[in-house]
């Protein structure tokens, strides 16, 4: 169970630019570290983040090993209509974590 925290306003006015925050629990193991016995710890990172607003992609990010553990993103979008914002993270092996929240636009 990967922990996800989302910060999205409950309501917004149509046309207003709103701040969105998304945080996920993930080690973002860089692949450059070694364990206590000197063995290389293999890379294990999230590589892709997407934010969909009622099914339309409004923001995306590509992560490389220098994105900090438990990656957080703060970005903006224009409130256009009431509906759902879906946040999706995909790791290097194709595993996907996703969470949604709704917004009322008046």
């Amino acid at each position: 169970m990967a922990g996800i925290r989302l910060a999205v306003p409950d309501t917004a006015q149509k046309g207003e630019t709103i701040e969105l925050k998304a945080l996920i629990q993930h080690d973002m193991e860089s692949g450059f570290r070694r364990g206590s016995r000197g063995e290389a710890i293999p890379r294990d990172i999230i590589t892709m983040f997407e934010c969909m607003y009622n099914g339309e992609l409004v923001f995306a990010a590509e992560f490389h090993p220098a994105i900090a553990a438990n990656p957080i993103l703060t970005f903006y979008t224009i409130a256009t209509e009431s509906g759902d914002l879906t946040f999706t993270w995909t790791d290097q092996n194709g595993e996907v974590w996703s969470d949604s929240t709704s917004i009322v636009v008046t």
């Binding site: 169970m1 922990g3 925290r5 910060a7 925050k21 945080l23 629990q25 080690d27 973002m28 900090a68 553990a69 438990n70 957080i72």
Partner: protein, 259 residues
């Protein structure tokens, strides 16, 4: 002498094991007790203060889910502790009469699991135990630490204090020498803190994760090139009691962010 010790600082106390003459502080006085928070950069303080961005809350969230989840035939933690556990963490470690032992928060959670829920103990530093501990401690956030060191707890307090004040490891350093006698001075890029545990379990940037106070103690022991004690060792629990008494009045900051 004061100028000498300030200039030579860490090297003087670590180089050849010469006793540190006239240490600046013998013990912390009530007015000078400050949280490790005070030694952080403004950016790290802001991370701790932000209830959304502080990554420690990922574990607090998970702890809440675990606390409220019941499985078949096993009551949830929340079904007993309906009113929550506000203030509880300020009193830990605490002496347990029934078991005649000193118990930290992790130990209490595991005792609840085995005695009241019929479940296995959680491993120290497992995600679940860290999460539950963080969730419980977080309910005492901003409340002052007030542990009981009277009666049978006094023996553990003395044991913890002795560990804190004893030189150990290849550097031949005691906790006391850095965190009571030398706090506030520079050690490479850091300002030495007073070594309080009021923010634990804490999210350490160094760990890139939440970790227990005992993990921090193990790092300190390793740092002076001493053999760390195993997780859950009663001596470490006693050190936790001494640390809590030494931090009397400081607010619980769990989940704190530390270097």
């Amino acid at each position: 002498m004061r100028i000498f010790s300030a200039a030579v600082g860490f090297m003087a106390i670590s180089a050849c094991g010469a006793p540190s003459e006239e240490p600046e502080h013998q013990s912390l006085t009530t007015g000078e007790i400050v949280s490790g928070y005070a030694f952080l950069t403004p950016e790290t303080q802001a991370l701790q203060d932000d209830p959304f961005e502080n990554p420690g809350y990922l574990w607090v969230d998970r702890g809440e889910t675990l606390f409220q989840s019941a499985s078949e035939g096993i009551p949830s933690c929340g079904s007993c502790h309906e009113a929550g556990l506000s203030g509880v963490a300020t009193r830990y470690p605490a002496y347990d009469d029934a078991r005649s032992e000193l118990m930290n928060l992790e130990g209490r959670i595991n005792t609840c699991r085995t005695e009241h829920q019929g479940m296995e103990e959680l491993a120290y530093e497992s995600e679940d135990l860290l999460s539950l501990t963080a969730y419980v401690a977080n309910q005492s956030r901003e409340q002052p630490i007030t542990v009981d060191t009277s009666g049978p707890a006094g023996i553990f307090y003395a044991k913890g204090r002795a560990y804190f004040e004893t030189r150990r490891g290849q550097f031949n350093l005691s906790c006391q020498q850095c965190h009571t006698e030398t706090w506030g001075k520079q050690l490479r890029g850091d300002t030495i803190s007073q070594g309080h545990g009021n923010g634990f379990p804490a999210y350490r940037l160094e760990w890139q994760s939440l970790g227990s106070l005992q993990r921090r103690l193990r790092d300190c022991d390793t740092g002076v090139r001493a053999e760390p004690l195993p997780y859950g060792d009663p001596t470490y629990v006693a050190v936790e009691l001494y640390l809590a008494a030494r931090a009397e009045g400081l607010p619980v900051e769990t989940p704190a962010v530390r270097r």
